[in-house]
Symmetry: C2
Subunit: 329 residues, 2 copies
């Protein structure tokens, strides 16, 4: 049978609670007792039961994190930022993946809340009604990340519409007139939709049309390559493509290179995210750099602050973005 606290206590000739204290607040027990208990722990090979502890104290050192996809580097980097920060403070991450499905998100939230997590990190501001209700009822800290706006809890992200405007302005300033916006599954990846809205505003203000091409797979190189072909077929006069992300844009850029299409002379290409690849292709990709790891880190820091000081306020953090102009536009 697996040894329990009581076994350790017996071995060390102390009570169970003393062992518990050695584990949870070592400086409240006398050093000699502590040593005795610690060697007993080693001796019996005790492994702490987190379930029991969390149940008894009604709080766990688990952080529930819910992202829409793991195939997208962006969320990976966010998770990485969360991990690094939380791990240093002794929290574990329980990871959920909604596949951009709000029903699944709701289901995940429900399950995760059942683990009495110390906090909940969730991507985006759009949730199903049931999910909204669950989140509002819950007392623990919540962080909604990536996107800025009307949040239930903490909010760390950037203004996607503004990012869309920023890039559109850049393209218009560069003199491009026939500009297509290309996204992949814009319904699900609605943040790409928000950027498109910003993009369209700027183009319409400049008296231009803002055609949209929505690819039916999620953004990868292959899709970007195919999108380039489609744009050139459907809108042959197109002079610039504003891609919803760098994966698509890089795919198109590399494809253009293979096809002998000159970028930006024949067609300009812009992306979003600022992935490393964009700086290593020739011509370098014009893109908007989003501070992804910083989003994770900052969300984690804010959450930790709240966990340590109950009454830190629910604040909103604009992490901003940077236009990085390469030679692709």
């Amino acid at each position: 049978m697996k040894p329990t606290l009581t076994d350790v206590a017996r071995e060390a000739r102390v009570s169970a609670i003393t062992v518990s204290r050695v584990l949870n607040s070592p400086d409240t027990v006398r050093p000699e007792t502590r040593v005795k208990v610690e060697s007993a722990i080693d001796k019996v090979g005790y492994v702490r039961n987190m379930l029991a502890g969390s149940l008894a104290s009604a709080s766990s050192r688990v952080i529930a994190a819910i992202v829409p996809s793991l195939s997208n580097v962006v969320f990976i980097e966010v998770i990485n930022g969360l991990q690094n920060e939380f791990e240093r403070h002794g929290y574990q991450i329980l990871l959920g993946n909604t596949d951009y499905d709000l029903e699944r998100e709701c289901q995940l939230v429900r399950t995760f809340l059942g683990w009495s997590p110390a906090a909940l990190i969730i991507t985006g501001l759009r949730h199903s009604d049931a999910c909204q209700r669950l989140l509002k009822q819950w007392e623990g800290p919540i962080a909604e990340i990536m996107e800025l706006g009307e949040a239930i809890g903490l909010n760390v992200g950037l203004d996607h519409a503004e990012a869309g405007r920023c890039m559109a302005r850049h393209l218009v300033e560069r003199g491009y007139r026939r500009i297509v916006y290309v996204a992949a599954q814009i319904e699900r990846d609605y943040r790409a939709g928000l950027r498109y809205q910003g993009h369209r505003e700027v183009l319409q203000a400049a008296g231009l049309e803002a055609p949209l091409l929505d690819m039916d797979q999620l953004g990868q190189f292959e899709t970007g390559a195919r999108a380039l072909d489609q744009v050139l077929t459907l809108h042959p006069n197109t002079r610039a493509i504003h891609f919803a992300n760098d994966d698509l844009a890089s795919g198109a850029l590399l494809h253009a290179h293979r096809q002998g299409i000159h970028v930006p002379q024949e067609i300009a290409i812009a992306g979003f995210n600022g992935l490393p690849i964009g700086r290593h292709v020739t011509p370098r990709l014009t893109t908007i750099v989003s501070p992804r790891e910083a989003i994770g880190r900052m969300a984690a820091q804010q959450i930790i602050a709240r966990l340590e000081d109950e009454h830190a306020p629910h604040s909103s953090h604009d992490v901003g973005f940077t236009l990085s102009v390469g030679e692709s536009t």
Copy 2:
């Protein structure tokens, strides 16, 4: 106060255990009772407490997964494979990141075992002694992934030495003689070291030297680019570089392109992993395709089989690899 099972039971005028059964084995309760209970659950807004359930049953629906890094797409894809398979069966993933540190791995294993996970997935076969002991003592299913060999539990992976040999043979057959192997932090990423050993065997058998360049950052584009420069400085006659992974190799390839160095005429470049980018650069990257998602999926499937049938045997699965010859060699 948060509603508990008992609250639901009272509302539905049944006993707590009946509610528990509706949740855990719905087909053992009469449909009418089930409906009654389900509407009571809705009415009181019951959220299941996983901690209590897992404690009482000494088993949770959490899978502990430990990987060395989240910055490396490879592990992300593995996790993705795990996720997809496990989520369908109602398991959640508790994610740990060792940063290629065996001490940290041990710590993580210890913590994770405290969550009474249904299974443990761990990367690689090398663990600290303490970790080995922990793993051996634990009764639940363990899967060691990525690498093939002497495993404690299930083993799903590929033969890295053989992969190294395979690529080295390819390079030798192509007529390259001065070949450098480039890795990043080969001590920590010891699977890259295993590939190097295979590589060296083949080269030595062919009467060739097998110089190694070990970069001090983990593999990204930038490091690959810098490695190319260093190789050309340190070993100016080098005709081919065998990179430990596709990130490095692509970084070098894109850098060569920027510098006007012709690949493969002046220098040949090979990678490992088969990342999408390799097929989209010009020339296409010669690489070894490792079935990363398949590793995750298969590990998950095997674990699930074991969870459902206690006595499925601990087996070893070679997922293999494929040499994908591009124009870069």
